[in-house]
């Protein structure tokens, strides 16, 4: 009797999981495969099954806008992830010094993370506005020749997006880092104090390696964000000036919905997925292997 009920229970559990199983199978697996297949066809406005091999990829990687987008993604990704990690960890370390009003500081450092990228983009665009933003403020202070026109400057525009993104994301790294630092064994702290190790060396050589896991998590999260980067660019520069802030996600959406070039868009999205996995998978495996060898 009991055995029978266990079985009906398991059947009910399987039925309950069915909707998600369908999404996983048909959308996540099926959809990714479907997109990859379409990228091998000559589909333009409408999808067709006329296979042309890797022709779309050849077209894609000779498309200057795609190459610019990729380059921008790499520049953005490296500067954004690097600076956000540094800023976030510094904030966490300074907050860890038994400061008064810690929770007030924490609230201030994280609130930007709660806002939409569209909001973030529009505020910073206003701040960077050469006519009425920071440039104007500094000029009013008497520095008449002060120039800060990054947002309309072909070479520097991408970094205005980096600054806005750091403002948005540093709080998240701070939270993750602070949790990691607070999780460090009290004995380690005591031992460091007894040995007279200066605080900065303790953080750099002892604490930082022990919170490697949190760094990895934060970096992977940000990497996914970098690949998805779209809203912030649309709100701040819409890809301009020229194509100075074009990014792959925007290339894909534009080709899919505006230029109606399905084959090229799916080739771009498939390449993007392959590139992301090529970076993340070895990294995660490495992280896991290290964790295991430590344990």
């Amino acid at each position: 009797m009991a055995g029978f009920r266990w079985k009906t229970g398991t059947v009910a559990a399987a039925i309950a999981l069915l909707p998600t199983a369908c999404v996983v199978l048909f959308l996540f697996v099926g959809g990714t495969g479907w997109a990859a297949l379409v990228s091998l066809t000559s589909s333009k406005m409408l999808a067709n099954w006329n296979f042309v091999g890797f022709q779309q990829y050849a077209t894609l990687f000779s498309n200057p806008r795609w190459l610019t987008s990729l380059a921008n993604m790499v520049i953005f990704g490296l500067t954004y992830i690097g600076s956000t990690l540094v800023v976030g960890f510094l904030l966490a370390i300074f907050l860890d010094q038994r400061v008064k009003g810690e929770s007030v500081f924490r609230t201030i450092f994280l609130y930007s993370y709660a806002t939409s990228f569209i909001v973030v983009g529009l505020v910073w665009r206003w701040i960077f506005n050469p006519g009425m933003g920071i440039q104007d403020v500094v000029r009013d202070l008497g520095f008449a020749s002060f120039t800060f026109d990054w947002i309309v400057n072909q070479r520097m525009a991408i970094f205005t997006i980096v600054i806005a993104a750091i403002w948005h994301g540093a709080g998240l790294v701070m939270v993750i880092a602070l949790a990691g630092i607070r999780g460090v064994d009290a004995e380690i702290w005591k031992a460091l104090k007894v040995d007279g190790v200066p605080a900065w060396r303790a953080y750099l050589h002892v604490i930082l390696p022990t919170v490697r896991g949190s760094i990895l998590t934060a970096a992977v999260l940000m990497m996914i964000g970098v690949v998805r980067l779209y809203d912030l660019v649309v709100a701040m520069t819409n890809g301009g000036p020229g194509s100075a802030t074009e990014v792959p996600a925007k290339f894909i959406v534009d080709n899919l919905f505006e230029r109606q070039n399905i084959g090229l868009a799916t080739a771009a999205s498939t390449s993007l997925l392959v590139m992301l996995l090529a970076v993340i998978v070895p990294w995660l495996l490495l992280g896991n292997a290290r964790r295991r060898s430590r344990a």
């Binding site: 399987a14 309950a16 959308l27 201030i108 450092f109 806002t115 996995l277």
Partner: protein
């Protein structure tokens, strides 16, 4: 004062070295950086255009007005329609509520089934589901548009809710799976011995214990859905565009002179819901993003 007695003067010397001063200086400068955009937004939204044109981004408004806020809410134009941001606000509300309810419900049931029941293929499903978090949205746009339109879920309210639920499934499932896994298994076994089935056990044992995770999941999902732009733009259809999309259209398609004060008021209005959630929920919000962050 009696002569001869040595009275200590001035403040008592404190242990407040240069290091402490440096720590606070760093934190305060950082806090100013984080608060700066909020300050600029609020100030700009309260100035009349004449004052903005004179410059002085940081200057206190000499003639503060709430006119831009009223205009942003009731009469600002998006394309040809001039009914203000309230249209997008209500669209966002209507999108967010069913998306959050459905995503959380599915996440709860998935988490429960995965933690306590032995469905043979469940672990495979969970592994692929977690892998799904790495797939960039853009990869799935084309197949999703096709599948959604076949199901009649493209360009309407059902469409955006469907997509919102699909993309939230991995995180919601993970949240509840980890939460239920931390509950003592004896509870579950006791219910089983009493003869309760799958749904009964969930409803009478697990659901009453889910309170804390429900709050966390709710905060996470509502904030994410409210802040979404691209899914709303593609899947919601013209009549259901969420607030973020309307805001961006409003600001980026303006012809003629741009009304920066109204734009900043509109931006603040769009940020208001998640900010209120953030400031009210405090630690719960942090718990949500921390729980969502622990993926590896």
């Amino acid at each position: 004062m009696s002569a001869g007695a040595i009275v200590p003067e001035g403040p008592r010397p404190r242990h407040f070295g240069w290091a402490r001063l440096g720590i606070y200086a760093f934190l305060i400068v950082a806090a100013l950086f984080f608060l700066f955009p909020l300050y600029v937004m609020v100030l700009t939204s309260l100035k009349p255009m004449a004052e903005i044109r004179m410059g002085g981004l940081l200057a206190w408004p000499s003639d503060p007005t709430v006119e831009p806020w009223i205009k942003a809410w009731t009469s600002a134009c998006t394309g040809l329609r001039c009914e203000g941001l309230r249209v997008g606000f209500w669209n966002s509300v209507i999108i967010t509520i069913p998306s959050a309810v459905l995503a959380i419900l599915l996440g709860m049931i998935n988490g429960y089934a995965l933690s306590f029941w032995r469905v043979p293929w469940a672990n495979w499903m969970f592994a692929i589901l977690m892998f799904g978090t790495f797939i960039p949205y853009q990869v799935l746009f084309y197949p999703l548009v096709r599948i959604a339109s076949t199901l009649g879920l493209f360009g309407n309210l059902g469409g955006i809710v469907f997509v919102q639920v699909v993309f939230a499934l991995p995180v919601m499932t993970l949240l509840f799976r980890n939460y239920y896994a931390s509950l003592p298994e004896e509870l579950f076994k006791a219910a089983r011995v009493d003869g309760a089935g799958f749904w009964r056990t969930w409803f009478s044992i697990m659901l009453p214990l889910s309170g804390p995770m429900l709050v966390v999941a709710c905060i996470l999902k509502v904030t994410n859905t409210w802040n979404d732009y691209i899914l709303g733009l593609i899947f919601a259809g013209r009549d259901n565009l969420p607030m973020t999309v309307q805001l961006n259209n409003m600001v980026n398609s303006t012809l003629g002179e741009r009304e920066y004060n109204m734009e900043m008021a509109a931006t603040l209005l769009t940020a208001l819901v998640p900010l209120v959630i953030y400031f009210v929920s405090g630690r719960w919000f942090v718990r949500g993003i921390a729980a969502g962050a622990v993926k590896g």
